[in-house]
């Protein structure tokens, strides 16, 4: 069992060594990382592993995690399997979108 902590928040939760971080968070009823497709396709759960945490990942959409990003520890939480305690920064798609076109899109659709 490893401890997952989310940067810039108080969220800390446990994740088993054979479970992806997003599912561990969901099962415990915790939050912090946005939940999307849960299949490594949509990029909503994008995170960056900070420091020198050990982990491996399942196959992730290259569109959401280009090879350069992957080298910087960026990955999709729904495909992230911890091998040590991890400190994560939430990048998400939301952040990107909320800061630019996502907000205008929401407004356009009247929400």
């Amino acid at each position: 069992m490893y401890q997952i902590s989310i940067e810039d928040s108080d969220e800390v939760f446990d994740c088993a060594a054979d479970r992806n971080v997003l599912k561990a968070m969901e099962k415990l009823g915790r939050s912090g990382i946005p939940i999307g497709c849960r299949g490594g396709g949509c990029g909503v759960c994008r995170v960056q592993v900070l420091g020198k945490g050990q982990y491996h990942t399942g196959k992730m959409s290259r569109e959401q995690v280009p090879a350069d990003d992957e080298k910087k520890g960026i990955c999709l939480a729904c495909k992230l399997i911890p091998e040590s305690n991890l400190r994560l920064k939430v990048l998400g798609k939301w952040q990107k979108h909320f800061s630019d076109n996502r907000v205008s899109e929401n407004q356009k659709l009247g929400t």
Partner: protein
């Protein structure tokens, strides 16, 4: 109703991250039938109630999403007619040779303002439903998982959605059945029919081009929709929302995800469209109800989770 021109959605070709996992999911859980595989490793599937030999094509790739959506036209000469019209309209058009998709005739492929690729074809090999056309039984035994009847429609997201909507209406002869307006009174989402279904394709305005929101499969009853949800929980399939109802099209629905994050839908119970109906309009302040009739609010995932 006498169909002319575009008859119906015929296939969706989507990308998956892991083929073995995808095939297991679409066959064992969704209940499609695997009918073929080609030299490139693409896998062909169909719903039991479909007679042509495939309606879903899977391709393994490093990002999920949709490659193209194909529509069947009524006759071979429609291909030439539409090809000329599409070119005149300013689309890039390409002929895909017969057999490039296994057991499918020549296809007229074209691009669209929203960044999606579409195709028209007239011929696809007949496989049948295992029941025959003479005194058939109502359904075949041995179906799996959700037992979906057939591929029904796609909801696509892209920039300049209205451009694609106009293309489908002006060139391909689709009817607008329902529209969602933005506060400026422009179309933000459109539901289009080439038949007498409430929709054969839907398109929503979105910042990124060429995106897939969902591929939808038809069931017959609310009971079957509920049973599909049971199967999702039995096998830990990611559910997005539902079972619930859409205001738009009235469909009873579940959104869920394939193992690569492509959204699927199973639904039943939309209305019958006839060309003498007036399109339905949804105002921006009622958008929540339009999409999820019971929640009555839009979730971020509906707008932002796409492949």
């Amino acid at each position: 109703m006498s169909f002319t021109g575009v008859m119906r959605p015929g296939h969706a070709a989507i990308r998956v991250l892991d083929m073995a996992e995808a095939v297991e999911y679409y066959v064992e859980r969704v209940g499609l039938i695997k009918t073929d595989e080609d030299k490139q490793g693409r896998v062909y599937l169909k719903g039991w109630d479909e007679l042509d030999c495939f309606s879903l094509v899977l391709r393994e790739a490093d990002s999920p999403g949709i490659d193209f959506m194909g529509f069947k036209v009524c006759k071979e000469s429609d291909l030439d007619d539409f090809e000329a019209k599409l070119k005149e309209y300013g689309q890039n058009v390409e002929r895909m040779p017969a057999g490039e998709l296994i057991k499918c005739g020549e296809r007229v492929r074209f691009d669209s303002p929203s960044g999606h690729t579409f195709e028209l074809y007239a011929e696809k090999e007949y496989l049948g439903d295992g029941l025959g056309r003479l005194n058939p039984n109502p359904w075949p035994e041995g179906l799996k998982g959700m037992q979906v009847h057939r591929f029904d429609h796609c909801l696509l997201y892209g920039s300049n959605a209205i451009g694609t909507v106009n293309l489908f209406r002006d060139v391909l002869g689709f009817d607008l059945t329902e529209q969602v307006l933005n506060p400026e009174g422009e179309i933000a989402a459109a539901f289009l029919s080439c038949s007498n279904k409430a929709h054969d394709i839907a398109i929503l305005e979105h910042p990124e081009p060429g995106k897939l929101h969902h591929v939808s499969f038809m069931l017959m009853t609310w009971e079957e929709v509920l049973r599909a949800a049971d199967i999702m929980s039995m096998h830990d399939i990611a559910i997005d929302i539902g079972p619930t109802r859409h205001g738009i099209t009235r469909g009873q629905t579940i959104y869920f995800f394939d193992p690569s994050g492509n959204r699927n839908e199973v639904f039943c119970g939309d209305y019958t469209w006839y060309p003498d109906r007036e399109p339905i309009t949804w105002q921006p302040e009622e958008l929540g109800k339009a999409i999820f009739y019971h929640d009555r609010k839009l979730n971020e995932n509906f707008l932002g989770v796409v492949t």
